[in-house]
Amino acid sequence: MAVDYKALKDGGFMRQVQKNHFSLRLKVVGGNLEAEQLLTIAEIAKKYGGGRVHLTSRQGVEIPFIKLADVERVKAELEAGGVNTGVCGPRVRTVTACQGCAVCPSGCIDTYPLAAEISDRYFGRALPHKFKFGITGCMNNCLKAEENDLGVKGGYTIAWLREACTLCGVCAKACREGAITQTETELLLEESRCNHCGRCVKACPFDAWRGEAGYMLSFGGTFGNLIARGEEFLPIIRSKAVLLRVADAALTFFDRHGKPGERFRVAIERTGWEKFKQDMEVAYNG
């Protein structure tokens, strides 16, 4: 019987240069793996692969040199060890994330649970072409949100708490955007200059800046054959329900308007950014 390479590829087995050998892509969410999963992966790589793994550019793990004859056994043994296989082809790919505020002092949002929720909701969903989500915790953008078809960036909406403030002067210097000016009696915030980085909140010694966490979305990023930065046009989103509603609408748009084999950005450009923005604004406003 002929080998169904497409089915293998969809299931994460990537055909190698070497005949009848595959590099097996594993499912990784938000760049996190448990130590036990790593032990399983190490064992499989030694037993069935070439004794090593490859770390992909998007926080994935692949085990190269799996033989065609071992495919089913490898899948079963990985699953028994708590490791799932990844996907390839025209569908929602690995959801990437930085460590976020649960670990990183700069983080504004808890990225990993969000990556897990987005992955549970969309991972593997068939679309006209590949679709990548990336989640970064703050403006430092370690996870490069705008490279993704849909990028999520954490940020703060800030408010000054006059009664807690001692006018110590730290925040006006911590702000890199020049959005905060200090007078003899108060702080003036120029909201149009605020980029939601949260440095004022993080730096304030008296908790006199309140920061409310939110999400800034970028659409249509791609960093392969075509290189383009994802576009940001919605205001900062303050609830996860709205974030998911907009993400739903983005995938629906791609399903409806994308031609097979066409990336999200190309589908948006062919259909028109105005139409796309309109659809996203409708979803944003509920």
Partner: protein, 81 residues
């Protein structure tokens, strides 16, 4: 800085990150809880980042004053262990 009587002073205008914060940390280490340290620091990255690092170590910042010569003076009260 007449409002505060410092117990020690450290000048970090002649070093760059991360030595800026290291010098502050070393100076704070030898102080007792509640004592005050003044830090002279340069504009730009030091003044953007050092106050936040001091806060994240749990110390209390009292004041950041502009010296008018491209430097700032940060007043820090040492926290307990």
């Amino acid at each position: 800085m007449a409002d505060f009587t410092a117990d020690d002073h450290v000048d970090i205008t002649d070093v760059v990150c991360p030595v800026t914060f290291v010098k502050v940390k070393v100076a704070l280490d030898v102080l007792e809880e509640g004592q005050l340290l003044t830090v002279r620091l340069a504009d730009g990255e030091p003044v953007q980042n050092v106050p936040r690092s001091v806060k994240e170590e749990g110390h209390q910042i009292l004041k950041l004053a502009d010296n008018g010569d491209g430097t700032y003076t940060l007043v820090v009260r040492k926290a307990g262990e």
